[in-house]
Amino acid sequence: MSDNLKDKIAWMKSAKGITILGSIFLALFATINSGPYVLVNTIITGGMLALVSTGLTLMLGVLNIAMFAHGEFFMIGSLSAYYVFTPISNYTAMHPDSFLVTWGPMVAIFTSMVVGAIAGIIAEFLVFRPLRKRAAENWVMNSFLLTVGLSVLLVNLHQLIFGADFKGIVRYWGGMPFSFADVFISRDRVISFCLSAFIVFLFWAFMTYTRTGRAIRAVSQDATGAQIVGINIETIVLMTISLSCALAGVAGGSLLFMYPSYPTMGLEPLYMAWFVVILSGLGNILGAVAGAFMVALLKVVTVEYVGAGWDFVVPSILIMLILIFKPSGIFGSEVRGVLDT
């Protein structure tokens, strides 16, 4: 019993424990001080961020690609959801008791996921596979610069083909907002949060319990070793890219009602996701989820107490401080060693 207690105290003293407890206290303080909507906003932003950053962390862990174009897959997701949902909403406006009133948004969100996955696969075939075949040394930096190019390319293709204006919708599901502890939360937010929680859970279960998930984790730990035991690396790589891009796409699709689609919309989710990945260390899905909520809390609290627009400055300074004192992240894992090139 006392050993148990000692373990707990040791955990609390570790960086992990200090940050988690600190975040919980901060959340409680902000909630009591300004009202429960802080908590609600945190949870909803965190859900979105968890989707984007688990994809990013997966890509970094398995493929060693420091993805700079992840926000653009978010953008692709929201764009495809927009183009699927607009005709659906026109149809439901005329047929208000069609089944699409309930299921139409689901169709749009599901499409965004599929399109995200397809875009990821196309990117793998056109860009990453040729690079993997040719580049022997300095892979991390080269692939990073490649994704920078990919990001610029996708942003400007969007502008060229679909124009630079905001492509947004008013809402997915209409109806009364839910009321929860004196705050009214719109139905869209609740459902999209549930959806992202469900997807993250599915993803976690997939990575933990299925054979393919285990293979992916094996590749992330040691690619050569995985190959020796008979895992087909190319398949795993393809699957990882499509999975992580699908996660970014579904995040974009389910948040279309909050973030209208426009060319450079991907930058914010991108750097937020990078904050999360750096904060939580690599290769650790649950760590990324926890980190996502922490970054979301930081952002919401900054907007609440310092002002809108400062949510760039304060989190980035804090994360720089964390990087200085704990370069491998709070939940740092062994996987990081791969990047030391």
Partner: protein, 340 residues
């Protein structure tokens, strides 16, 4: 990868030039740049503006390559550092009436301090993590420039005095060319010294470098400080040339522009980016102005070029130059490139 002439094999008149990193072809390029404002299509004001912009990007890419090509850390907040130097100089000129000519050097010194800080705090990080850190630094700086409206007037833009009280672009053009040459010579002299060897060793394998007695702390910090100081001076030039500074200067897309030029030019060469920037920026501007009904097309081409170069020709232009021109069978080409 070294392309400038080496001291051993070049003729006597070349040794001095070789020390500062020029070969006959390089000198020709410099003369061409000097004469360019008087050659017909380029003597129009709007083309001169493009030239100045191209030279600005070229100079930044030299400073950028000094970090990324040698110690192998991409300074992703480079444009933000330049903008920081620009804002320093502009604020001094606006609030304290300090002449831009002194201001840009104070801006450079200030940016050097910033580079010192970035270099220090990124010491424990490697590769991509250091790049991320400098990126976050840049984001924070840009956020500050946007939000400190009482100081920088935020997105409205800060009006700055120009360096020359004239409508003509020619003095600005010669100034930026001088800055380009100075930046190149400074970087080249550092790189050609013992320090350059240490930079390369650190960039290739830090542990091996440390084992052979190189102290990475000093070299990394020094590298960041110098390249950021150069960026700061250039940012000052940018502010005092356009007469207005907005936080857009510090945006990540500006860094990406410099990065693309530096990498298409060839990493670790310093001169590659400077040479490539001129045709490259011109191509972009021509596409942008003639096909203005297709916004973004120029950047699509730009990104495609970056991707293709990264996949199929990671050595960039300088590698092409080394293999096909400097060591070609044609003797004239070899003499021209100082490889006789």
């Amino acid at each position: 990868m070294e392309t400038t002439n080496t001291v051993q094999s070049s003729p006597a008149w070349g040794t001095l030039l070789g020390k500062i990193g020029f070969n006959p072809a390089g000198i020709l390029c410099v003369f061409l740049l000097m004469a360019l404002p008087f050659i017909p299509p380029f003597n129009q004001e709007y083309l001169l503006r493009w030239l100045i912009y191209a030279a600005f990007i070229a100079t930044l890419s030299v400073g950028f390559d000094f970090t990324s090509g040698y110690i192998n850390i991409v300074n992703f907040g480079y444009a933000a550092v330049a903008g920081y130097g620009g804002y320093t100089s502009a604020l001094l000129a606006v609030n304290l009436n300090i002449s831009p000519w002194i201001g840009i050097f104070i801006g450079g010194a200030n940016a050097a301090v910033l580079g010192l800080i970035i270099g220090m705090i990124s010491l424990r990080l490697r590769g991509i993590f250091a790049a991320c850190l400098s990126w976050f630094f840049g984001l924070a700086l840009m956020g500050l420039a946007t939000k400190l409206v009482w100081l920088t007037r935020g997105p409205l833009g800060l009006r700055t005095p120009r360096m020359f009280e004239t409508e003509s672009n020619i003095p600005f053009y010669y100034l930026i060319i001088v800055l380009l040459i100075l930046t190149y010579v400074i970087c080249k002299m550092v790189v050609n010294s013992k320090m350059g060897l240490a930079f390369k060793a650190i960039g290739q394998n830090m542990d091996a470098a440390r084992t052979s007695g190189i102290n990475p702390v000093f070299y990394r910090v020094f590298n960041f400080t110098l390249s950021c100081a150069l960026a700061g001076i250039l940012g000052g030039f940018y502010g005092h040339y356009y007469g207005i500074l907005t936080p857009e200067v510090m945006h990540t897309t500006k860094t990406v522009e410099v990065l693309a030029v530096a990498y298409i030019g060839g990493r670790g060469s310093l001169w590659g980016g400077a040479v490539v920037a001129f045709p490259f920026i011109f191509l972009m501007e021509i596409i942008r102005s003639t096909l203005s009904h297709l916004p973004g097309l120029n950047l699509v081409i730009y990104a495609l070029m970056l991707i293709l170069v990264m996949i199929y020709y990671p050595g960039g232009f300088s590698h092409f130059f080394d293999v096909h021109i400097r060591q070609s069978k044609n003797k004239i080409l070899r003499i021209l490139t100082g490889n006789a």
